[in-house]
């Protein structure tokens, strides 16, 4: 055993679900792109096809075929993501995780404070790693919106494209403007998630990418460093 001061940063629940989500999102991304390249155009409303007006024409050629074998894998990964997400949210409320790690303190929710923390992030200011042992207000708001807004939106827009689901819950599609609107919003949500993931990984680099990755694997943060 080394004499390194080790602080327990992430619970087993957070670590297991984090990496399962990472892997399933990667799988969903690859298979989702496989489906999208079969018809790389986005529409608004219920209908849209070659010969109708589109919202976005992605600059890639139509590739016939990949949607057929990408779809089943897409739904397999979707199941893994949804079940993991349910375990994480249930566990997060049963343990102090959501309350202590994610919900911001009321006093931190002032606009000026949020602005200041955001500016620190943008200016790439190095923190004293011993000071901050928990997430700041910007991190908390970012994680909360990813967990409780972005991921549910991705699931919703995905289910809104399912004929079985809309036969029971037609509002899934109609509230979004229709089948094609749901498909477009599904892609928009994924782009937002990717932007979050990029910022997330870039921010990890600020205090050492690998020590943060190690903390998310082993649960321990050497030198009391904080993870994000």
């Amino acid at each position: 055993m080394s004499d390194e001061p080790k602080a327990s940063r992430h619970s087993v629940l957070v670590r297991l679900t984090h990496w399962t989500v990472v892997l399933s999102v990667l799988g969903l991304l690859v298979t989702g792109i496989g489906i999208l390249i079969s018809h790389p155009r986005l529409y608004w409303g219920e209908t849209g096809s070659i010969g109708t007006e589109s919202l976005v024409d992605l600059p890639i050629p139509f590739t016939i075929g990949p949607s057929v074998w990408n779809r089943p894998f897409h739904f397999l990964f979707a199941w893994i993501l949804v079940l993991t997400g349910l375990v994480y949210v249930a566990g997060g409320f049963l343990t102090p995780h959501v309350r202590n790690d994610l919900l911001p303190a009321r006093t931190d929710l002032r606009v000026n404070h949020i602005k200041r923390v955001l500016l620190e992030h943008v200016r790439w200011r190095q923190h004293d790693v011993h000071v901050a042992r928990s997430y700041n207000v910007v991190q908390r708001l970012a994680y909360l919106s990813v967990v409780f807004v972005l991921f549910p939106s991705i699931v919703w827009t995905g289910l809104a494209m399912s004929f079985g689901m809309t036969s029971v819950f037609p509002t899934l599609a109609t509230a979004l403007g229709g089948h094609q609107s749901a498909r477009t919003l599904h892609v928009v949500c994924v782009v937002l998630l990717l932007l979050f993931a990029i910022v997330h990984v870039v921010m990890l680099g600020r205090e050492g990418f690998w020590s943060n990755v190690r903390a998310m694997i082993t649960g321990h943060a050497p030198y009391g460093g904080r993870a994000r």
Partner: protein, 255 residues
């Protein structure tokens, strides 16, 4: 800090494993009894397919209806994935207005039927304006006119052990004309008896166009486009799960 493996932990772990395994076994057994296991349940992908199919069957029941639209919503463009067959048989049937075409209903039925297009059109007719979406991503709205599959099956009389209905189109040679591929497919009884499942011979107020599957195609309200078999010639009622699909993609098209 490793705990030694005592007899108690060994027994507890063993009992827990046995209970888990038998619980899973019981779950699979009852899921199969209630028709929640799809034919393509095997393999890694089968896990997702089974979860999707079972969840949707528990949610949708036999009666949930796909969204219906109005005639004003009908799309001006209705694309197809591939034109109609160009082989001699199809061309001659088409030229003759499908007078010599017959649809047979066989398998687990009280009496096998052979229906001409005129006989099919004399059965109670209904129309539904539905969204048609390809798994690739595109979609259109059209009105489909035909007879409910349930009405035809009632004429033939379904035997109680029936579990699936198989749809066989007539030979559909590909563009090169050399390879004959007959893509047959099947649906479960919940979809076969569903109120929006039609044997459609009309589209947007006109005769079903050849590219859309003339003379008769299957039209399902709660499935993606690829499940709507075109150019029908044979309907087989069966209890066999292995005799289900000779086509690409997943069996259940509700998602």
């Amino acid at each position: 800090m490793r705990r030694p493996l005592t007899r108690r932990t060994f027994l507890t772990a063993g009992l827990a494993t046995a209970a888990g395994a038998s619980g899973l076994g019981a779950a699979i057994y009852s899921a199969d009894r209630y028709g929640l296991i799809p034919p393509d349940h095997s393999g890694v992908v089968g896990i997702g397919e089974t979860l999707t199919y079972a969840t949707q069957r528990l949610l949708t029941s036999r009666h949930s209806l796909a969204r219906e639209f109005t005639r004003r919503d009908i799309s001006k463009v209705a694309p197809v994935n591939g034109p109609h067959p160009r082989d001699e048989k199809y061309v001659s049937l088409l030229a003759d207005g499908f007078r010599d075409w017959r649809l047979s209903i066989e398998g687990l039925v009280s009496r096998s039927l052979t229906l001409s297009l005129d006989e099919l059109k004399r059965l109670p007719q209904e129309s539904h304006v539905l969204l048609h979406a390809c798994e690739e991503g595109w979609s259109y709205i059209a009105e489909w006119t035909g007879v409910r599959l349930a009405s035809v099956l009632a004429l033939a009389g379904i035997r109680p052990e029936a579990r699936y209905v198989v749809f066989e189109p007539f030979a559909n040679p590909n563009q090169s004309g050399s390879v004959v591929r007959v893509l047959w497919d099947s649906i479960d009884m919940a979809d076969a008896l569903h109120a929006q499942t039609l044997l459609a011979y009309g589209m947007n107020g006109e005769t079903l166009p050849p590219d859309h599957g003339a003379p008769v195609r299957l039209r399902l309200g709660r499935h993606l486009g690829y499940k709507n078999t075109k150019y029908l010639s044979r309907i087989i009622v069966t209890e066999r799960r292995d005799y289900y699909r000779k086509s690409r993609g997943t069996w259940y098209g509700g998602i």
